[in-house]
């Protein structure tokens, strides 16, 4: 934590000075010699350090890469830690090789195998990595001749990397800039490590970087070059403006909010001019969908357009944030991030109540979002949850409390419970490492999977960091509480239940126990529920004998017990904390924390713009820096300063011009998808799309009720989450996440052919459009208004359809016969006659169009308001009138135009 903060503070101060030509003498006033200067002359060469020079050199030369000796099984019998961070192991591997002999030959250093191989003097599958007699060669040679010592204790901890210049703004392609990298160590040492640093570009269409740190511009845009040395990972921004609108040529743009100011600072640098503000209707549709997952109703659109007050947008934002649909939609998303999958909620009691527990999980979060509980408090209620809500709650009381949420009559409100334990119940996070991964994803927006096995390639995390982080979760259990001895316990109650069944057959007994359990639960009686608790772990050291015994059982048993250590922070002594999650939560709440607030800020931003300030939104790592760091810092710091006030954050974003810009691009920002210069089009999320279809087709009375009735909404309680099946077909097709993996990417927003087939022709959609006995559709309403079909009309309609089908069949027969070429003229004539006859019948049945009993223009306007939340243009109005006039039944005409609008891209896209 300390490190990361200092780094970011430092970056902030550095970014103040932006210049293409690096003031190389900036930070440390003394110029540091480069590695080649230090080791070119073997006579006068410095003493190399294993950690500071040898390992980084091998890493830069590719030796410890995954393709080479960093592979899990090494190469040619020689294995290094991946990306070189396990110094002891690597040192041992290099120097202590009885099997192969002389990787390091201290008596005759030039005969050391690592040199012979690296120079390809002795055949090396990896070819020549360094030249004989080069500074690289000398560095290793000198290290060997001085005894090939390990010096991790002497070097002390690495502090930070400094890369100069801090930022590169190119003027044209093919321009180059040499980077300079300085390593700062805790003991005060500062070294130029440019030549032993690894570099990477995040986008080689903008610039690439050579092994020696020369950055070359390859095209317009902006990206980062990342430097890797020891466990330092340091990105610097690199860009080439995309237009000539830079400096004095950049137009004057007024900014009203801090967010706009920060976004514009970046746009100005890359020569992108933002789009204009969106119209009222464009804004209202977007903000309603984004904040509440709900289309505005036609009357809402009319009112908003008619409102002449200057602050109507701000007022609308406030109003939306107070709606139940806001709490529902964001609770659903938080259930995504925290992995609320019903199928995983097993084993809480003698019978599974998966979907009900999943619903409780949702309800608990929703209530808190509705009352805008501070985000840190909300998360603490999940992170620090235990089964019992106070130290003096007995098991019996707990067992009764759990049943109370699921009683048949008047169940208790889970929202009144101070914490929500089911995050820890999931079957897919039973193991401590699974808990660590899920935790990091849900609350920190960090993917630390890599560090489970090796040094994270794009971040500072080491395997040790992971093990020490995982240690926080070792004692977290969901089961029978082994800490306390009570007369009534889970075990005693479960045993009693089993005995009372009187069954001896295992299968029958299980069934009977399930039934008895459910009966108790539904009656609100205490029932044997498992509980979430922190297992008391003995701190006593195991004797050698005990360890030997454990090793016998499990050959992989590791007697070293990891001390919990916060990611990038301090070690924690568990004797000070009965619950190891408490110091973790304290750390997250610390205003200096680099992840907790940012992960929420970034996810909220991603929801509003279709991409995060860090993208992917849940992959914050040092090598994947924010596209606009100042913006991220401002929002995250503000969010913390406001006491983790979620609505503050929403308002801060929504009230900015940046959010309120139109999607319509200009010449400078057509290709911009990441700097927020115009609204990027996004397909509606699955739940929002389904609700939008329902809202657009339902009857007028139902419309406002449905918009507010969260219970029926797809954006609301996700009883069906984690289940695939016919009922969830549409949601699955449109990319609703299963919430099974630690990745926000589970939710997909790409269009697919199946989605199109759904909106065109799926029975579910067509039924919604026409209405059914269950659902009153707007079309049904119009039919009634227009005088419903008489029995005769219905019959005629049936006949008409039959006639049409006959004609089609006949035509097909004719075509086939013609294609085969064996048609007899007299038969063809017959078919033609039949076709003519059916056509005549069709004409007779079609008759003259019926006059509508409604105002055409009003209805057409209503179609547009229902689907795309705007009024039709004059042209669109004329077109629709034409189509309505040509329909036999005017309501059919309305239905068809409504169907067409549901299938227009303007409907399924948020713009």
């Amino acid at each position: 934590m300390q490190k990361a903060n200092r780094l970011s503070l430092w970056l902030l101060t550095c970014l103040a000075s932006i210049s293409l030509i690096a003031p190389l003498t900036a930070a440390p006033s003394v110029k540091q010699p480069s590695a080649s200067e230090r080791w070119t002359n073997l006579e006068k060469a410095d003493s190399p350090s294993f950690r500071r020079h040898v390992v980084p050199l091998m890493s830069r030369s590719g030796c410890s890469g995954r393709e080479c000796h960093g592979s899990f099984s090494g190469q040619g019998g020689f294995q290094l830690s991946l990306f070189g961070y396990d110094f002891e192991k690597d040192h041992k591997e290099i120097t202590d090789d009885q099997e192969d002999g002389v990787r390091v030959d201290k008596k005759d250093p030039t005969q050391s195998l690592i040199l012979l191989k690296a120079t390809n003097e002795e055949h090396h599958k990896g070819k020549e990595r360094i030249k004989k007699g080069s500074w690289e060669y000398n560095l290793i040679l000198k290290w060997i001749s001085e005894g090939a010592k390990i010096d991790v204790a002497e070097t002390g901890e690495f502090e930070r990397l400094e890369v100069l210049p801090k930022e590169i703004v190119f003027k044209k392609t093919d321009e180059t800039v040499q980077l300079r990298v300085l390593a700062h160590w805790k003991d005060g040492t500062v070294e130029d490590v440019t030549q032993i640093t690894r570099f990477r570009t995040n986008d080689d269409t903008v610039s690439n970087v050579s092994d020696t740190g020369e950055v070359k511009c390859t095209g317009p845009g902006d990206t980062h070059i990342v430097a890797f040395y020891d466990n330092g990972v340091h990105p610097i921004p690199v860009m080439l403006p995309v237009s000539d609108k830079v400096g004095p040529k950049y137009p004057k743009i007024v900014t009203n909010t801090k967010v706009d100011e920060l976004v514009l600072d970046k746009l100005r640098k890359v020569g992108i001019v933002p789009s204009d503000k969106a119209s009222d209707t464009e804004f209202l549709r977007r903000v309603s969908l984004d904040v509440t997952g709900t289309l505005p109703t036609p009357s809402e659109v009319r009112e908003f357009v008619a409102d002449k007050s200057a602050d109507k947008r701000a007022k609308k934002i406030d109003e939306l944030l107070n709606r139940p649909a806001y709490a529902a939609w964001w609770a659903t998303q938080m259930c995504d991030w925290t992995g609320n999958n019903a199928a995983q909620l097993r084993g809480a009691g003698e019978k599974d109540f998966n979907t009900e527990l999943s619903r409780l999980w949702y309800d608990w979060i929703e209530a808190r979002i509705a009352k805008n509980e501070p985000y840190d408090k909300l998360v603490a209620g999940i992170v620090l949850a235990t089964g019992r809500t106070s130290p003096d709650q007995s098991y019996l009381d707990y067992a009764k409390e759990m049943s109370s949420y699921l009683t048949k009559n008047h169940p208790a409100d889970i929202a009144d419970r101070p914490n929500m334990p089911f995050f820890w119940l999931r079957q897919n996070v039973r193991k401590p490492q699974e808990k660590a991964l899920a935790f990091a994803h849900s609350f920190l927006g960090v993917r630390i999977e890599c560090a489970e096995c090796h040094k994270h390639p794009f971040d500072q995390w080491t395997k040790n960091d992971f093990q020490q982080f995982q240690a926080f979760f070792e004692p977290i259990s969901y089961g029978a509480n082994s800490n306390v001895k009570e007369t009534v316990s889970y075990k005693s109650m479960a045993e009693k239940l089993r005995e009372e069944t009187g069954e001896t057959d295992k299968k029958k007994q299980k069934k009977a126990v399930e039934a008895a359990f459910e009966k108790l639960v539904r009656a609100g009686e205490p029932a044997p529920w498992q509980e979430l608790f922190v297992k008391r772990i003995s701190t006593r050291k195991l004797s050698d004998k005990e360890i030997a015994k454990l090793k016998q059982k499990n050959p992989n048993y590791n007697s070293r017990v990891a001390t919990p250590k916060i990611l990038g922070g301090e070690e924690v002594s568990l004797t000070d904390y009965p619950d190891p999650r408490a110091p973790l939560m304290d750390w997250m709440r610390d205003p200096q924390n680099a992840y907790f607030a940012r992960s929420y800020v970034n996810r909220v931003w991603a929801n509003y713009f279709g991409r995060g300030i860090v993208e992917p939104a849940d992959d914050m790592n040092l090598a994947n820096p924010p596209v606009n760091k100042e913006l991220m810092d401002y929002l995250a710091e503000g969010f913390v300063a406001k006491g983790f006030d979620m609505k503050w954050l929403h308002r801060e974003i929504l009230n900015s011009d940046t959010y309120q810009r139109t999607w319509k691009p200009n010449d400078t920002n057509r290709l911009d998808e990441k700097n927020f210069s115009h609204m990027v089009l996004r397909r509606l999320p699955a739940e929002v799309a389904m609700d939008a279809i329902a809202l657009a087709t339902t009857s007028s009375q139902q419309q406002s009720i449905f918009a507010g009735d969260i219970e029926k909404r797809a954006i609301g309680p996700n009883v069906g989450s984690g289940r695939k099946g016919q009922s969830g077909y549409a949601l699955t097709t449109f990319g609703k996440p299963a919430r099974l993996t630690n990745c926000d990417c589970e939710r997909t927003s790409d269009p697919t052919l199946l989605q199109t087939l759904f909106t065109r022709n799926d029975p579910e959609l067509l039924t919604k459009l026409e209405g059914s006995s269950k659902d009153n559709a707007w079309i049904t309403e119009l039919r009634r208004m227009n005088g419903s079909f008489s029995a005769e009309e219905k019959k005629a309609d049936g006949e008409l359809r039959k006639a049409r089908a006959t004609r089609q069949n006949l035509k097909k027969r004719k075509e086939m016969a013609l294609a085969k070429g064996n048609a007899k003229p007299e038969e063809l004539k017959k078919v033609d006659e039949l076709i003519a006859a059916t056509e005549a019948k069709e004409k007779e049945l079609t008759g003259t169009p019926k006059a509508p009993a409604f105002n055409q223009e009003e209805v057409i306007q209503e179609i547009y308001l229902r689907t795309v939340s705007r009024f039709p243009t004059a042209d669109e109005m004329a077109k629709a009138k034409e189509d309505l006039a040509s329909a036999k039944d005017p309501v059919d005409g309305v239905r068809d135009v409504l169907w067409a609008m549901l299938n227009a891209r303007e409907f399924l896209v948020n713009h």
Partner: protein, 432 residues
């Protein structure tokens, strides 16, 4: 920019000379020249079936057994002979052993990405994944290069594909996912395809015109924006599919003759393979079938013996023999692969872990010669014996069988030129 050559010694632009891989030496521009001069036979593949064994199947227990390896490596299974003399595979693949003349085993295929996501990205694109670009999958490239009849999607995934199929190419080249696996003797229920609720073909036509009349809000930008362009393509395709009787029949397994259906098992994988052959027969260009469950970190042999191998055996043998029986094997390229092999050394839990340095792939049809073993792994199955076959080489070979030039360049939306396969060399023995 200086590039690293790799420690495995394969400098990707080098010509390879020795060992079992002598045939790889022909680089593609070379090949095309030869083709132009009539030096090589033109490609025969008109469509492809890609069978994805997700999780990473153990090479040591399937198509690359090491009966002489030590106990720490060998595993429980024995080898059996096949209908091709000298080619031996696992005893739990008896049906495939009877049609080994129809496919070729590539051994010692090797890469270095031991994570599922990365390995999958590599094997399904033929390009090693990099940070700044997502490569398009085989199916997306084929969709772009080869036209399907207008009433069928060019690229179908049974039952689904997962994320990022299209890479930088935009959603219109994405797979049509059936959503579920077909069941024996039943029409595949593809929702939205059947005409129900009293909708007639005439209605379908009329409505298609209506959408065009009303879907105008984005103007010219609709052509530029990837999302909008993709949705538009799907709109057209959906219309053609709904209109077509043929598209509905392609998904109806009841229309298949008994001679063919009896070649398959009745489980979902076999039926998916059967559906794949029907779709290809109807004009679909690329079908993926997925069989998961290969991530056998524990209970490797139990799982393989009782579940995975019998399923794979029935489905794949059905696929090869039915394609041959229909006379379609020569025009249908088949590619079977996982994302990596598994550790030759057996772990403490009776399983094998991720291992990309030695794996197997199967290739068949599309003018590719069956009944061969190409490449080899070393004595313990730990790496290629001589020169490695790279996923890039397999990709180039696969594309070659379909008549697609792997060195062809596409442009990303930002204008960056990207080759279909950056580094692969065609394995010429496949076409001898």
């Amino acid at each position: 920019m200086a590039t690293h050559s790799y420690c495995d010694g394969v400098n990707r632009r080098d010509f390879l000379r020795v060992g079992a891989l002598a045939g790889i030496g022909l680089s593609l521009p070379n090949f095309l020249q030869l083709q132009a001069q009539g030096g090589v036979t033109p490609a025969k593949g008109k469509a492809a079936i890609f069978v994805r064994l997700s999780g990473g199947p153990s090479h040591m227990d399937t198509f690359d057994l090491k009966p002489d390896a030590p106990d720490t490596h060998r595993g429980e299974f024995k080898e059996i002979a096949t209908n091709v003399p000298g080619v031996r595979i696992s005893e739990h693949l008896p049906k495939l052993a009877q049609c080994a003349d129809k496919f070729t085993i590539l051994r010692g295929v090797s890469h270095t990405l031991a994570a599922h996501e990365l390995g999958t990205a590599y094997m399904m694109t033929g390009n090693r994944p990099i940070a700044s670009l997502r490569y398009p999958s085989y199916g997306s490239v084929v969709s772009r290069e080869m036209n399907a009849p207008e009433y069928l999607p060019p690229f179908v995934a049974i039952p689904n594909y997962g994320n990022y199929a299209t890479g930088f190419m935009g959603p219109e080249y994405g797979p049509f996912e059936t959503g579920s696996a077909p069941q024996a003797g039943r029409a595949m229920e593809v929702r939205g395809l059947a005409l129900r609720n009293g909708v007639t073909l005439e209605d379908v036509d009329r409505r298609q015109n209506l959408v065009k009349r009303y879907d105008t809000a984005f103007g010219e930008y609709a052509k530029e924006d990837k999302l909008l362009a993709g949705m538009d393509q799907f709109g057209q395709k959906a219309y053609e599919m709904m209109r077509s009787e043929k598209s509905r029949e392609a998904f109806d397994l009841r229309k298949e003759s008994e001679n063919i259906t009896k070649m398959f098992g009745t489980d979902q994988f076999s039926q998916s393979c059967l559906l794949a052959t029907r779709l290809v027969e109807s004009g679909v260009r690329f079908v993926t079938v997925t069989l998961g469950g290969w991530d056998t970190h524990q209970n490797n042999w139990e799982t393989l013996k009782n579940k995975n191998l019998p399923t794979l055996d029935a489905g794949l043998a059905g696929l090869f023999t039915s394609l041959a029986a229909k006379g379609m094997l020569d025009t249908t390229s088949v590619f079977v692969t996982g994302e990596f092999g598994r550790t030759p050394k057996i772990n403490a839990r009776g399983g094998r872990d991720h291992y990309p340095r030695a794996m197997f792939c199967l290739l068949a049809g599309g003018g590719m010669q069956g009944g061969q073993v190409i490449g080899a792994s070393d004595a313990k199955g730990e790496g290629p014996k001589d020169k490695a076959i790279t996923p890039d080489d397999v990709a180039a070979t696969f594309y070659r069988s379909l008549g697609i030039d792997p060195t062809k360049e596409y442009h990303t939306p930002s204008g960056r030129p990207v080759m279909i396969v950056r580094y692969g060399k065609v394995i010429n023995e496949m076409f001898s």
